[in-house]
Amino acid sequence: MAVLNVNGKSVQANADPRTPLLWVLRDTLGMTGTKYGCGIAQCGSCTVHIDGVAARSCQVPLSAVSSGKKVVTIEGLAQNGKLNKIQEAWLANDVPQCGYCQSGMIMAATALLAAKPNPTDADIDAAMTNICRCGTYQQVREAIHAAAKA
């Protein structure tokens, strides 16, 4: 039984320590906001924050986070019912189409803004390598700039 810190809470997960965090979140903890898209670090749908840094949870074994690292998922971004800046900008710019990639997009954008409060287009290109098959990239870029100004 591993103990981990998810969205500020200590939770127990009964899974093999080699299980990717993605599947621990989804299947063991029932937190399905973090999505599976490829399982090989390509698509970014599974992006979470580990100690504030964006990470692709399909590549992180449970054992790597069961030592007190702080895991934040899409379900943990809003605080006291209030969306974070990126979520607000996403809402204002009507970004999602199907929405499946958007948990990962929002996690990646939130981490980007934390590291670079005023990202350039080149910063966005470098940090936002998530795949969106609906093609929301133009709205993603606009919403990140809008959030930076907010």
């Binding site: 399905t32 090989i40 998922t73 899409i74 209030k82 499946y100 098959r133 093609g135």
Partner: protein, 725 residues
């Protein structure tokens, strides 16, 4: 803004035993609650099949088509709300289930969501649904006040009498629900629209920002198990044997089952445990002769069709061969187009609870009724004992219009009666068991007279038919009419735009063993590459500008939309050094579209698409903001395919397995997309697909101007664009 943390009615069907689900009245599944969650279990009154009103004035609009990102939920709701005269801020939506549709004599008509048909094919009856409900609410108020209905008017969810008396829809719903619906209603002229036609925000965004939206893959039922599945890697191969004993003791594994004679599944407590065991499971397959098929065999098969004497004629005018033979100048080119994969963002999956008496399916599907039929067949139960609860789709692109994955999930769950089983395909399983964009080649031969006019054109398509594989009953004397999308002689769907006096478009059908499918845009995609790139070749041979050359032949609506795109893009005006414009146009899915791509190619061959200006005439515009998003998304989809999209066959199996071998466009390659809407009214065109077709040809035509290289084969990643290469 604050969020509603409990999505009270995001229930997954009448059982409502999901994560945050609460039971919903029989037969209705997903209900989006943003912006107004019905907090209390309000007494909802069904006014008619499309409109349900609660005492708190919440209006629930029923939507039969599936939402997969295209915004149909919002667009269709706008059309109903427009006629209903309701307060848009109080609108939510829900899906009727396919089973309920059958029980109610198909009152919601077609559930199928493809061919950009959502709005254009149901606009009439959903608007009537809204108008009928409005009339019933007005009649209820008139009866209550004992005044003639003609003295009452409806607006913003309130009925008002000329004396000033008012009642809200919520107050009137119960009485209105008891009235006979009017036989006839008059629909508004689109120029009087207030809700429809506006760039409204989508109704379903909030839960997509917080992780609360439930997609098929997120469904969780009590005591649910998860299945990982592996079908024969060679398409059409059979399952011979497997050694379950080797994995049965692995953690979490419950059982290993054969599926449909062509696949094997491990059922375990979690997906990861199922997948680990499946990866370790020794399996033997019987591939037969199919294992000998190589990509070169398929190329040879298609090449053979280019010169074949027998072909289905899709469009014919005058005598193309004679005109070409007698022409002053003859131009000829051969193009080819590979298989492409849909790569839905969410891999195929479905959750099934089977008992000998009932089969229930939770899944994302573009065709709820086909999913229901597939479930019934696989379960061996009458349709009346089966049900499908539609979930949000993590994209569909045509792939989720098929029900192969539903069948597979039912056949797996059937082997564990009474236990809900969620089947999830790995990305690798998904990539190698697609229903691929068909592969074709095309030889075009054109004849120009001495003044550079196109006097004869022969378009010979060779290759794979979707209908022959999936819907053979829809072939017309063996011919696949869908093959000629964009080349059709007439019709509201995908008619050819050029006046060419002598024309022959024909198709030599060549069907390899790889399953083709309807892939967003379908055959307009390659047909636009063939025609629009060859138009540039003809223009060059005629010594004319590609735009002027086209304009001489284009029918009015096609010409208007191409001109609109070119005007907006500044076609013909100076561009930054090293930048070039390429153009393309087509009519598809009832809409006229055109694109102008601005590209540069560096001396060492690096292609950059800087900007695309796209014009659309879809007749009536229901939501311009969502159309803009569909257009921008269409370029991502179309350019992803043009840059990287290619499925190849080795030893009968698909070679590509995941995004590392099947790349797609990311944000750094995204051009700026500018959308111009030029609705000319009087017809209803789709917007989810047509624009994809102009992505590749407009870029290829610009590449030629930049490099002098005609690219006639996709994807572009195989092309050397370096100077002098």
């Amino acid at each position: 803004m604050t969020i509603q943390t409990s999505l009270a009615s995001t229930a997954l069907g009448r059982r409502g035993f999901l994560v945050s689900g609460t039971a919903v009245a029989g037969g209705f599944s997903l209900g989006f609650t943003f912006p107004h969650a019905p907090a209390q279990a309000a007494e909802a009154k069904e006014i008619n099949a499309w409109v349900v009103i609660k005492p708190d004035d919440t209006v629930v609009i029923r939507i039969a088509r599936s939402e997969m990102g295209q915004g149909t939920l919002t667009g269709l709701a706008q059309l109903v709300a427009e006629e209903l005269e309701c307060d848009w801020s109080k609108v939510t939506t829900e899906y009727p289930t396919p089973g309920e549709n059958i029980r109610r004599n198909r009152v919601w008509k077609n559930f199928s969501t493809g061919g950009s048909r959502g709005i254009r094919e149901s606009q009439q009856y959903v608007r009537e649904g809204g108008a009928i409900a409005r009339e019933m609410l007005v009649a209820a108020a008139a009866a209550e006040w004992k005044v003639p209905a003609a003295e009452c008017s409806a607006a913003n969810s309130v009925v008002k009498h000329s004396s000033g008396k008012t009642m809200t829809y919520g107050q009137l719903a119960a009485a209105a629900a008891r009235l006979e619906p009017p036989k006839e209603v008059k629909l508004k002229d689109p120029k009087d629209w207030k809700v429809a036609g506006q760039p409204l925000k989508r109704l379903d965004t909030l839960p997509k920002l917080t992780g609360e939206m439930i997609y098929g893959i997120d469904v969780r039922l009590p005591n649910m198990l998860t299945a990982a599945v592996k079908a024969s890697p060679v398409i059409g191969g059979k399952l011979k044997s497997f050694d379950a004993a080797r994995v049965e003791k692995m953690p979490g594994v419950k059982t290993v089952v054969a599926v449909d004679g062509n696949a094997v599944a491990v059922i375990a407590d979690t997906y990861w445990n199922a997948k680990l065991a499946l990866d370790k499971l020794p399996v033997e397959w019987d591939f037969g002769k199919l294992a000998e098929v190589q990509q070169d065999d398929i190329t040879a098969m298609l090449k053979d069709g280019l010169g074949a004497s027998e072909a289905f004629v899709g469009n014919k005018a005058g005598d193309a061969k004679a005109a070409i033979d007698g022409a002053a100048k003859k131009v000829e080119a051969t193009y080819s187009f590979p298989w492409q994969h849909h790569v839905t963002m969410e891999p195929m999956n479905a959750t099934v609870l089977y008992t000998p008496d009932k089969c229930e399916v939770w899944c994302g599907t573009q065709n709820g009724e086909a999913a229901l039929a597939a479930a019934a067949e696989a379960a061996g139960l009458p349709v009346a004992k089966c049900e499908v609860y539609k979930q949000m789709l993590g994209t569909g692109f045509g792939r989720r219009g098929r029900a192969d994955y539903v069948r597979q999930a039912v056949l797996i769950a059937k082997q564990m009666p009474g236990v809900p089983v969620k089947m999830v395909w790995s990305r690798e399983e998904d990539m190698t068991h697609g229903q691929y964009h068909p592969t074709t080649m095309c030889k075009l031969t054109g004849g120009l007279d001495k003044d550079g006019n196109l006097v004869g054109l022969h378009v010979r398509i060779s290759g794979q038919s979707i209908l022959a594989a999936l819907l053979p009953q829809n072939l017309q004397n063996g011919m696949d009419p869908v093959q000629f999308q964009g080349f059709a002689a007439s019709g509201p769907e995908a008619a050819y735009g050029y006046n060419v006096p002598n024309l022959l478009v024909d198709h030599a059908m060549r069907n390899p063993h790889v399953t083709p499918g309807f892939w967003r845009g379908v055959n307009t995609n390659q047909n636009a590459v063939y025609m629009e790139c060859f138009m540039d070749e003809l223009a060059e041979a005629a010594g004319q500008d590609p735009l002027a050359f086209r304009m001489k032949m284009l029918k009015p609506k096609y010409a208007a939309v191409l001109k609109a795109a070119c005007d907006k893009a500044g076609y013909g005006k100076p561009l930054p050094a090293g930048h070039f414009h390429g153009i393309a146009q087509i009519m598809g899915y009832g809409s006229y579209v055109a694109g102008v791509s601005e590209v540069s190619v560096s001396p060492d061959g690096v292609l950059k698409v800087h900007k695309i200006t796209a014009a659309t005439d879809c007749g009536h515009v229901v939501n311009p903001a969502q159309i803009e998003r569909q257009v921008a998304g269409s370029f991502v989809y179309g350019l992803s395919a043009a840059f990287y999209g290619e499925i190849t066959i080795k030893d009968g199996a698909v070679e590509q397995t995941n995004f590392d071998s099947y790349n797609v466009m990311r944000i750094d390659e995204m051009p700026k997309v500018e959308t111009v809407l030029v609705p000319s009214g009087g017809f209803w065109g789709g917007v989810g697909e047509p624009t994809i077709a102009v992505a590749a040809p407009s870029v290829l035509n610009a590449i030629y101007k930049a490099t002098g290289k005609r690219v006639r084969e996709l994807p572009l990643m195989h092309q050397e664009l370096k100077k002098g290469a």
